[in-house]
C-alpha cells in the first residue's frame, strides 16, 4: 500500500470525529451492511463523514490493511476503529453505541 493512501485515510479519520468507510453514499448505500450502519448512525443522531470505497479502489484496499479488517463498512470514532456492521449493530442493540459516543463527547441530535 502506498503511503499516500495511508495519509488520505488518516486525514479522513482525523478530520471527522465520526467517519464511516462504506460502499455507496449515506443517501444511496450500495450494500446492505453499509446501509444498516448508516441507518443506526442516523438513528442515534450523529453527524458523520463518509467515504465511498466503490469509487476508489485504492482506499478500498487501503482501509482493509489500515486496521487489519477485511470488510467494509468500517466505523471510526475520534480516530479509533470501532467495528464493522455486526459490532455496530450489537453495540447499538445493547445501548453501548450511544454510551460510547456520549463518553467521547460526540454531539447527538434527537432523531
Amino acid at each position: 500500500m502506498s503511503d499516500t493512501v495511508n495519509e488520505r485515510i488518516k486525514t479522513d479519520i482525523d478530520q471527522n470525529e465520526v467517519m464511516l468507510f462504506m460502499k455507496g453514499t449515506p443517501v444511496f448505500p450500495q450494500c446492505g451492511f453499509s446501509a444498516a450502519v448508516v441507518q443506526i448512525l442516523n438513528h442515534v443522531g450523529v453527524k458523520f463523514g463518509s467515504a465511498d470505497v466503490l469509487v476508489d479502489p485504492e482506499i478500498r484496499d487501503g482501509i482493509k490493511a489500515y486496521t487489519n479488517w477485511p470488510t467494509v463498512p468500517q466505523l471510526y470514532v475520534k480516530g479509533e476503529f470501532v467495528g464493522g456492521c455486526d459490532i455496530i449493530r450489537e453495540m447499538f442493540e445493547a445501548g453501548e453505541l450511544e454510551q460510547m459516543l456520549d463518553e467521547k463527547g460526540i454531539a447527538r441530535e434527537a432523531a
Partner: protein, 79 residues
C-alpha cells in the same frame, strides 16, 4: 466463489480447537452465512479483537471468496 459451511467451520476450529461453531446459511445460497463462535480464546478480548481472530483463522478468505459472513463471538459462560 462461495464456500461450504463445513469449510468455514473447519478453518475456525483449526485455529481455535476448543471453539463451538454454529454456522447458519442465511439465504440458503452458500454465500451469506452467520457464524456463532464461542471459544475460551476470546476471554479478555474486545469485540474487534475477537472478530479479527476469526478473520485470521479464515486466512484471507473473508472479503474474498467469502462474501458475507456475519459474526457473533463470545467467550464461554462462566461456570
Amino acid at each position: 466463489m462461495p464456500m461450504a459451511a463445513s469449510d468455514i467451520e473447519r478453518l475456525i476450529k483449526d485455529a481455535m480447537p476448543d471453539a463451538e461453531v454454529r454456522i447458519d446459511d442465511l439465504r440458503g445460497d452458500g454465500d451469506h452465512y452467520l457464524a456463532n463462535v464461542v471459544s475460551s480464546a476470546f476471554v479478555g478480548k474486545s469485540r474487534v479483537q475477537q472478530h479479527q481472530m476469526v478473520y485470521e483463522a479464515l486466512q484471507g478468505r473473508m472479503g474474498g471468496e467469502l462474501h458475507a459472513l456475519a459474526l457473533q463471538t463470545s467467550a464461554p459462560e462462566a461456570g
